[in-house]
Symmetry: C2
Subunit: 229 residues, 2 copies
DNA sequence: TCAAAAGTGTTCGTGGTACACCCATGA
DNA sequence: TCATGGGTGTACCACGAACACTTTTGA
């Protein structure tokens, strides 16, 4: 029997495609690397997995280090295991997508040494990225395009109280196509998981829209885990 | 800058959920382990990834070593990275599902030293499995239940020429529910990716059914990569 | 009073679902 | 001639898609 320790020669990393919605545009989080390889390049937030943490735990930790936020919605979507994707050795990367609301004060604090800077950039204005991160990003986008049709992910991007038009905007940005307003409202309300509030939008110079909340309890009761948006 | 080599301390493995259809039952491939840990237990076919092969390559290699088959349809579906899933150290496993036709002579040849035996077992008669393989199997099943609705996976399980009833059987086994014969035929034919042959079933003691072929070329032309079975 | 977005119904076509009988074949 | 699966059509309903005007509000 061969020495089993020989087999422990991979590095494992996490890369996160972090989506954020600021009220009008769909953004993703990028960091500027401060370390070789790819020093000064933009990259997806990511880091090595520690041996004493699970892959999921690692993903949460890494995101927290870069945004200061915990309890962010994250989901593993693919593992990238090509040879030579990392110049320093065999690094296999498990990719996650994450979704969060961008409130006014974005709590970006790149605490890790290798990141000089973290920034939200518009999904369709992404610069050239380090490693195979361009590819990972594309795959992440494809993935949420599908998942958003079956899971109520968009509410992770929206503030607690939102208008129907905002919901529609998010869907349009993710699916990258215009939707009909009347049909969209009919459909989204037909799921009966949005609670209409007595409150209206404030501070707008036009007719104020009604605010809604996502009723998670009702969603779980009605659909278990699945739906078809 | 810390020594980067310190980070290379993971082992990476592949586990395969291999589905096969023998004409009447949906089966999966199991091996009987001949090595510790879990010596004598049944397990999903799997093995370590070598440092000089990509994760996809590794999956193909491992499956070939166990079945003698190459060019099998395989797709990565999830990466299992919990702590302590392997008693000998930190092993993270990338799981694939595979689909193949079981012809009369099943070319099972467990060439690897750690497997004593390989066997097809009915999906709903699976014994207790080593490691977290029970869990991986469940996730694999869930996955193909979804994917089979959008991708023409079932034809990987069927022989080149098949009857519509066989197609329906496979769907029923995977989705685990009865389907209406007339509706099923209407739907499956409406996609226009099945070519009706001049040939009939032979050697049956009842009315022989018409044989069909999956027209891959037409499928690609019509649907790119997606569909909704 | 104007600009900007909110809010609202109907029609049409398609696709899903439910449902039962006759046909062809080999034993 | 019998047992076994092959093969077929219709009616109803639900849902998706297309489409335009009135209302409210603050500036």
């Amino acid at each position: 029997m061969k020495n089993i320790q020989q087999g422990f020669n991979f590095a494992l990393s996490i890369d996160c495609v972090v989506f954020g919605f600021d009220g009008s545009a769909l953004k993703i989080l990028l960091i500027e690397r401060n370390e070789d390889p790819f020093k000064d390049w933009w990259a997806l937030p990511g880091n090595r997995v520690n041996v004493d943490e699970s892959v999921d735990q690692s993903a949460s930790r890494i995101l927290k280090e870069l945004t200061g936020l915990s309890d962010v919605y994250m989901e593993q979507f693919y593992t990238f295991g090509e040879l030579k994707r990392h110049p320093q050795g065999r690094v296999v990367s498990v990719a996650y997508y994450a979704m969060l609301r961008l409130s006014g004060e974005k709590p970006l604090k790149p605490l890790t040494s290798f990141a000089r800077n973290a920034q939200w950039v518009n999904v369709n204005q992404v610069p050239e990225l380090a490693f195979d991160h361009q590819y990972i990003l594309e795959k992440g986008l494809e993935k949420i395009k599908r998942r958003v049709r079956h899971l109520p992910l968009v509410f992770e991007l929206l503030p607690e109280k939102f208008t129907l038009t905002q919901v529609q905007n998010v869907y349009e940005l993710i699916l990258n196509k215009k939707l009909d307003k009347r049909n969209f409202r009919k459909k989204i309300l037909s799921f009966k998981v949005l609670k209409e509030l007595d409150e209206k939008q404030r501070g707008v110079s036009f007719r104020a829209a009604t605010l809604y909340k996502f009723d998670k309890r009702k969603y779980n009761k009605l659909y278990g885990k699945e739906i078809s948006f």
